[in-house]
């Protein structure tokens, strides 16, 4: 009787022990630390087949999670994949290795609107991977009035039907946009100015979800929301009734990039990887895997009309987009403001 469990444990242990867990010391390898599910296995395998460089792919789920492991110094990485404001913070702290562009000739494929952005003004450190935005998604079967901006979303008639990202800085940046301020204008006066707006907005929200806001929309528990463009693109693929709108007041465009830490053991391998993913036919594979905006203009030419027609990936018109910058200690009062308002709600 008692041995049943023991036996189960033993069989399980034996099954896994036989597979072996010792890591081979490869002479040629790079350590890639990137968002989960963001680097297709096919791309990694192709790179290894061509160069003989083995890729150790470790993943994270937020910029801050990545930084926590990076600053601990537990592991040495050759490539990181931070978003724009984190790239800037890493540059400011002198943590990055300048890219030798002669080793990354394919960088020419990147569109000029993705180069020399404020987070890396001299374009010394970063190779854009994918861009996306934060915008409004509307279930057009339930919401028939036109929704063009944040003020159209946060109306009493939609109270209890709204999902938003569970991210203090994002939420504050939307309110800032409605008073004509950029997302990086987060001084005490700006916060004071948006406080009444947020006090009005937050009680209308039904769900806060950064990981999978699409769930509440697909279930029909909410009818509109402010979400990542990637979520909106997936919703659009599932059902065309989910429409993506970039807010008229201005929206956050995030740009994830590849960078090399200063203490990387194999910067040459890292640059070889950068050059490899910038090839149009490789970059296209990344687009196929995840419907973000591809900054590689040569790769975009290879995309199908259907992919290019997804408004969440390639929004039409000329939307007002801006990136986040590192705001240092000002992040603390933003966090406190949203916590206070949520606690009252």
């Amino acid at each position: 009787m008692k041995r049943t469990l023991f036996f189960v444990a033993l069989v399980l242990a034996a099954t896994v022990a036989s597979t072996g867990h010792t890591k081979q010391a490869e002479p040629k390898e790079i350590n890639l630390f990137a968002w989960s599910e963001y680097v297709p296995q096919g791309v990694i395998d192709g790179f290894t087949a061509e160069t003989g460089i083995h890729v150790n792919y470790e993943t994270f789920a937020s910029n801050e999670e990545m930084l926590a492991k990076l600053v601990s110094g537990a592991q040495k990485y050759d490539l990181l994949q931070p978003s724009e404001y984190t790239v800037e913070a890493l540059i400011k702290e002198g943590r990055l290795y300048p890219v030798d562009w002669s080793k990354v000739p394919n960088f020419k494929n990147i569109g000029k609107e993705f180069k020399n952005l404020p987070h890396d003004p001299e374009q010394k450190y970063s190779v854009p991977w994918m861009a996306g935005s934060v915008g409004i998604v509307v279930n057009s079967e339930k919401v028939t009035d036109p929704v063009k901006g944040f003020n159209d979303v946060f109306q009493p008639k939609y109270s209890g039907r709204i999902v938003v990202l569970d991210d203090a800085r994002e939420i504050v940046s939307w309110a800032l946009a409605t008073v004509g301020k950029g997302p990086n204008d987060v001084g005490p006066q700006s916060l004071e100015q948006v406080k009444p707006i947020l006090t009005r907005w937050l009680p209308m929200v039904k769900v806060y979800d950064s990981d999978s806001p699409k769930t509440a929309l697909l279930n029909g528990d909410v009818d509109l929301g402010v979400v990542w463009s990637g979520e909106a693109a997936l919703l659009y693929v599932e059902d065309k009734k989910f429409q993506y709108v970039l807010p008229a007041e201005g929206a956050h465009q995030f740009l994830d990039s590849l960078v090399i830490p200063k203490d990387a053991p194999n910067p040459d391998g890292a640059m070889a990887f950068m050059n490899y993913i910038l090839r149009p036919e490789i970059s296209k594979l990344i687009s196929a895997d995840f419907p973000y905006t591809n900054p590689n203009l040569e790769a975009r030419k290879l995309l199908s009309p259907k992919e290019l027609a997804n408004p969440a990936s390639y929004p039409p018109g000329n939307p007002k987009l801006s990136g986040f910058l590192d705001i240092g200690d000002l992040a603390v009062p933003i966090d406190k403001l949203i916590t206070d308002l949520k606690a009252k709600g």
Partner: protein, 295 residues
């Protein structure tokens, strides 16, 4: 024969021998483990909690009390109180729901007990996320439960269940129920069969038999179950995010956010965590001392 509710920790009421050299030797792995992997990391966090915020996360080693001053903000105290309340309700519900199950399994024919225990545990060998999203499927406005209630005519329009505090409690109870059942089972299992029979045959009805005889005899298991549910439930926030819609924060959300959210305020997160640990360690210590004196 009376057992105090807190006698789970050591049962010091019984005759103990002074630790022999052999006892020290056998105990040393655990002591070393606790010193290395519990005390040392906790001290690291204690130091961090009185430092200043580092730019990329981490800390700058400059002494400050500011993080503890920030903990005393009414917003965080309210959140802490609410988390404790949620945890208490969860614990109570687990006890009421789990005790009869533990009793049944403990009194089942010996050949069937482990099978039943496995049955209680196997659902939790699936992924927490997928399990919890399955609850979303059940509770959502067009979900299984609403369809069922509509069909039998108990309600006339969908009942809002998902994204409410009730859904959070349900998710917490679901997650922790086995951690109440298993320890109580270990107490029930050793009850003398004749004694149980006698309690039911002589007593004035089953309720009296339970409250006067059975429950006191299984109190160590009850105490252990309360401990194993209440304490971990306090820090769990993922259920709150998925089933509660993240509308009200739990103390676990706030702490997690200081490390993994854009505030990147490790020292404050550490101060919150240390406050939690010290408050509850003190409570455990105190109940332990009271029990010692009573004994």
């Amino acid at each position: 024969m009376r057992q105090d509710l807190t006698s789970f920790d050591g049962g010091t009421a019984l005759r103990q021998r002074p630790a022999s050299a052999m006892a020290w030797l056998l105990m040393s792995p655990l002591f070393v483990w606790v010193l290395a992997f519990v005390v040392a990391p906790t001290l690291i966090m204690l130091v961090y909690s009185v430092c200043e915020r580092g730019t990329l996360g981490g800390v700058v080693f400059r002494f400050t009390w500011a993080n503890y001053a920030a903990v005393l903000d009414p917003t965080y105290l309210n959140i802490l109180v609410r988390s404790v309340l949620f945890s208490m309700v969860t614990t109570l519900a687990c006890l009421v729901m789990g005790y009869p199950v533990a009793f049944y399994i403990g009194r089942a024919p010996e050949a069937r007990r482990n099978l039943l225990l496995m049955l209680v545990m196997i659902p939790f060998w699936t992924s927490f996320l997928i399990r919890t999203y399955a609850w979303v499927t059940i509770l959502k406005s067009k979900g299984l439960l609403n369809s069922l209630l509509l069909q039998v005519g108990m309600i006339s329009q969908p009942f809002e269940m998902l994204y409410t505090p009730g859904a959070v409690i349900l998710g917490l109870v679901y997650t922790f129920l086995p951690f109440m059942i298993l320890p109580i089972y270990t107490s029930v299992e050793k009850l003398d069969n004749a004694l149980v029979e006698a309690a039911f045959d002589l007593g004035a009805g089953p309720l009296r038999a339970f409250s006067k005889v059975i429950v006191p005899m299984t109190s160590p298991g009850i105490a252990a179950g309360i401990l194993l549910v209440f304490v971990p439930a306090l820090g769990l926030y993922a259920v709150n995010d998925i089933l509660g819609g993240g509308k009200v924060d739990m103390i676990g959300n706030i702490i997690e956010n200081q490390f993994k959210g854009s505030a990147r305020n490790w020292p404050f997160g550490a101060a919150l965590g240390m406050t939690l640990v010290v408050a509850f360690a003190a409570a455990l210590w105190y109940t332990g001392r009271r029990q010692n004196r009573a004994a």
